[in-house]
Amino acid sequence: MDDLSLGERLRQRGVSRRGFMKFCAATASMMALPPMMIPKIAAALEQAKRPSVIWLSFQECTGCTESLTRSHAPSIEGLIFDHISLDYHHTLQAASGDAAEHAREEAMQANWGEYLLVVDGSIPLGANGNYSAIAGISNLDMLKECAEGAAAIVSVGTCAAYGGLPMANPNPTDAVAVADIIDDKPIVNVPGCPPIPTVITGVLAHFLTFGRLPELDGLGRPKAFFGQSIHDRCYRRPFYERGQFAETFDDEGARKGWCLFKLGCKGPTTYNACATAKWNEGTSWPVEAGHGCIGCSEPRFWDAGSFYQALSVPFRDVGDTILAAGTAGLAVGAAAAVWNRKRKADAREKRDTITIKDLSKES
């Protein structure tokens, strides 16, 4: 660990007190903490020493790292990340080969029990875990080894959090999420394909401030960022309420910015902070750009039907189902009709003839 505190390092970098407090306030509001927590965050971050972070990349596309490196660099979030000790990260570290692996082992030994383990990508279990390996060590073994000495694990991206694209049907590598393997460490999921940079740094800031992970929902996500659906925070929501929908991507409704539900927006079932945090330094986000949410931060989003079909419609074209079921219904109906007629005929044939005499009281 470094001797300089975060506050000292930021001042060295020329970050003003005002800029630092603004970041603390933004972090507090993003994490839905009361304003009185701002000084506490500031004090904690001011004193925070650089924690060691080991970042493992498994079956992934590096999109999560791409997202992280765009956290408004060189903003204060970027600097915060600069000021954790990122001791191992394939894509970002200078070392390679044996030297890289040594860096990981050294960091683990020096900070045993205290380092943060960040994982992106899913872990293949198929073929004894041999679908993906780093330096001859399978992802499965490396995860188990690194998780043992970690204080906590952050599963960054939908692949690490829920299996993501590698786990999509037919899941050829038998991919699983981090939480499917590790069950004795605190794990926080930061899903998204990719996740929002400020959410990644926000979770790390929370860990630095409070020394523990933020409050999580049923899917292991920080409630502060994933507590509300895209739909509920969407600026196009009023159009949904008024029943004004874009029917195609270039009709009048689309040009007027109406609701994208009918074009397949998964906003109602997707819990993420895109609508409020936005992307690219708060420039825009998918729905603002005119495309519905694809639900990338939800488990199994890839297998949840077409991105372009409304949430309320069935996956398959049902025309053939209706035809087949209708034919079957008529066939059974015809059989039932024949049987009914036979019963009627039988009854007529076998009935006893009743005469007036049978009904008379004397008989």
Partner: protein
């Protein structure tokens, strides 16, 4: 199985199964009834059967004064229930998207907020229908298990839809999945309860109206 998986099942295999049973079951029931046939009527027609059929279709949609005067609230509630259910089912945009996907036809819908209010009224109306039934000794006596079932599977889709829209009790995704499953339950149960009246009301009225019209009597 989490909420997303449940929703995927409801939108995938679940819907296919329910639709198959619904379509096959309804056609089976209707065809079976119609195939019973009737004996040829050899008498000379005194009026038009078709006219009588049309007239009865309309006449039985309107309240009969003698009945209305006895229990106006129950009759009005029946209208509220049916019209409310119709509006919610056919004029909510996400539902229209479903019909568009399944049948390739669509029509304009109403604002979602208005549907929400009508949904609430429909739920209250369904509850009122139950209260009327429970409070009336004769009706209670005549009620079969199938009637209770029909009431429950009609209420569930409206209730879960309302709760999903308003984020009540359960997370939206799970409630939406339950909503779809409740609709599928309705589709599975409908052909085998008195809910077949969603189609047979027309054939039954036409048949009786036709008979009456042909004989030149009112129906």
């Amino acid at each position: 199985m989490d909420a997303n998986e449940l929703l995927a099942w409801a939108r995938g295999p679940g819907f296919d199964i329910a639709l198959t049973i619904f379509v096959a079951g309804m056609l089976l029931r209707l065809f079976e009834v119609m195939a019973l046939g009737k004996k040829p009527d050899l008498s000379a027609a005194r009026g038009s059967g078709a006219q009588g059929g049309m007239r009865t279709l309309v006449a039985r949609t309107l309240p009969r004064k003698s009945v209305f005067d006895k229990e106006p609230l129950r009759i009005i509630n029946g209208y509220v229930l049916h019209i409310g259910f119709f509006i919610v089912l056919f004029l909510y945009e996400p539902h229209i998207a479903l019909f568009d996907r399944a049948l390739g036809i669509s029509w304009p819908g109403l604002p979602s907020g208005l549907i929400d209010a009508i949904g609430a009224i429909t739920i209250l109306s369904l509850i009122a229908a139950l209260v009327f039934r429970l409070n009336n000794t004769v009706m209670r006596f005549l009620t079969t298990k199938g009637d209770w079932l029909a009431w429950a599977v009609t209420l569930l889709p409206v209730l879960t839809g309302y709760m999903a829209y308003n984020h009540l009790l359960l997370p939206y995704t799970l409630m939406l999945a339950l909503h779809l499953l409740s609709v599928e339950l309705l589709m599975v149960v409908a052909p085998f309860t008195k809910l077949t009246h969603m189609f047979s009301f027309a054939t039954a009225r036409w048949y009786q109206g036709y008979q009456a019209g042909r004989r030149g009597v009112e129906s």
